[in-house]
């Protein structure tokens, strides 16, 4: 379980996050949604301690992530997997080397064991046989899959996905969403997804947190989001033409 308590962050006197709190449970896919510039990615970076908030804490199964030095945090970091917006694959390494990288750096596993683990992860994301390719030789959707494979290779307890659908066609987006959901259920991971994609919201949101101008305005799930009457949330959800027509009963 991940718990965030009163996270606040500002840049140049502009409040980006204002006392945001929430709980993300084990085995659930939790979504943080909101329009661009509402502080979703900053919240993620605060949770990963890539950006240190001015106030508040992030607890990983009760362990305060902001206490202690980097050595102390390493144990928690080893339990994390992160899928970055663009995949963040290392350009100079092949797909196989990218996925194997955390094992090389953070474990004492033998070469054979590492190879098996990498092949299992690539197979799990549907990319068997592509290990020898360079990141520049694969599509955007494949890069996201490789990013997911790298994120799960260490068997993480916590999985973070920053805009997993950005830049992808609708069909590939749905496949990536399904893959994240399946992996979360299969391995019992606590998954946090940052998104503004309504398809994701409706299909994989076990729990949804809506941010607006740095504040948490609403919390619920994919069943309750359509019926809620918070004006900012309504505006966000029903700006989608298909959903607005559905709402109007057409």
């Amino acid at each position: 379980m991940i718990e965030i308590k009163n996270i606040s962050k500002s840049f140049n006197d502009r409040m980006v996050l204002d006392k945001v709190s929430g709980v993300f449970k084990k085995g659930e896919t939790s979504l943080v949604i909101g329009a661009s510039g509402t502080g979703k990615s900053v919240l993620l970076k605060c949770m990963l301690d890539l950006v240190r908030p001015e106030a508040g804490t992030t607890l990983y199964d009760g362990r305060d992530f902001y206490v202690g030095d980097e050595e102390d945090k390493k144990d928690i970091r080893r339990e994390m997997g992160v899928l970055f917006q663009g995949g963040a694959l290392f350009d100079s390494k092949t797909v196989h080397e990218n996925v194997q990288f955390p094992l090389d750096m953070l474990t004492e596993m033998g070469e054979g064991e590492k190879k098996d683990r990498v092949e299992f992860c690539l197979q799990r994301v549907g990319l068997e046989g592509t290990g020898g390719r360079m990141p520049s030789e694969i599509s955007g959707g494949m890069k996201k899959r490789v990013g997911i494979a790298r994120a799960i290779v260490m068997n993480p307890k916590y999985l973070f996905c920053d805009e997993p659908n950005s830049g992808l066609d609708p069909l590939t987006s749905i496949k990536i969403d399904e893959l994240i959901k399946e992996i979360t259920d299969e391995f019992g991971i606590t998954t946090v997804v940052i998104t503004h994609d309504m398809n994701s919201v409706l299909s994989i949101g076990d729990k949804i947190m809506f941010l607006h101008k740095g504040k948490k305005l609403w919390e619920g799930n994919s069943q309750t989001i359509m019926g809620d009457t918070v004006p900012e949330l309504e505006e966000f959800v029903f700006c989608n033409k298909a959903l607005s027509l559905m709402r109007a009963g057409k």
Partner: protein
């Protein structure tokens, strides 16, 4: 300005804390030696040969007095090459090639979140990415300076003898005449210092890139400009200190 120097010094400190295993650094060090050193041999060779040749031709053209023996031409080529051209001039060229490469690579890694990916794994990204580059530069720049020195003198020999400015015997006599071995040592010391400055300043610029492709380009430009300025200031200080 002071805050930038302060951040640069903090960045340097970060390179030596929370290091990864030596095996990791060794593999990356070898890769960087190839990227920084071996791939620069060609440009260093071309620059050294031609600069040596130009110095020879220019020196002869400006030393037309009958009282000055002709072997002074190769004597000047030797000292200029060893004291300045093989280290300072070569490093200004390398600041362009290696410096922009380091800043561009790290800047791109920064804006594509590859550095964040390392950090969330608990890896000290600055140390993992920059320390091998620093060690490779400090190791290969002196070797390049030696190659450059040798080829610079050889370039002068080719230009001098092929154009009839000086005979091979006079040229060889000139480069051996009143030779001070310490000058080779000065060239090596300079190359080590310049290697340190170019690699760390360029890495600092690239590592702190914010924004997009435009900022990566700006970081590369700043890396080359700042590295060249630092090399020239350090050159003056070393000249005062060592000669």
């Amino acid at each position: 300005m002071l805050s930038v120097i302060g951040r640069y010094l903090i960045f340097l400190g970060k390179l030596f804390t929370r290091r990864e295993s030596l095996k990791v650094y060794w593999e990356r060090f070898i890769d960087e030696c190839i990227g920084i050193g071996v791939s620069s041999v060609f440009i260093v060779a071309i620059v050294a040969v031609f600069i040596g040749a130009v110095v020879c031709v220019q020196t002869r053209a400006n030393l037309v007095s009958p009282v000055i023996p002709v072997y002074v031409v190769s004597n000047i080529v030797r000292d200029m090459t060893l004291l300045e051209l093989s280290s300072t001039f070569m490093c200004v060229v390398l600041a362009g090639k290696v410096g922009s490469n380091i800043a561009g690579e790290l800047g791109t890694m920064k804006i594509t979140e590859q550095i964040d990916a390392l950090e969330v794994m608990g890896i000290n990204s600055a140390s993992y990415l920059v320390l091998p580059k620093l060690l490779a530069a400090v190791f290969t720049f002196p070797l390049l300076a030696i190659i450059s020195g040798f080829l610079g003198i050889f370039g002068g020999y080719l230009a001098g003898t092929l154009s009839g400015i000086i005979t091979p015997e006079d040229y060889v006599y000139g480069i051996r005449y009143s030779f001070i071995p310490f000058n080779v040592f000065i060239s090596i010391i300079k190359a080590i210092v310049f290697g340190f400055l170019i690699s760390t300043i360029s890495a600092f610029q690239g590592y702190n890139t914010r924004g997009g492709a435009l900022e990566v380009g700006q970081a590369s430009t700043s890396a080359v400009t700042n590295s060249c300025i630092a090399v020239l200031i350090a050159d003056y200080l070393l000249a005062e200190l060592l000669t």
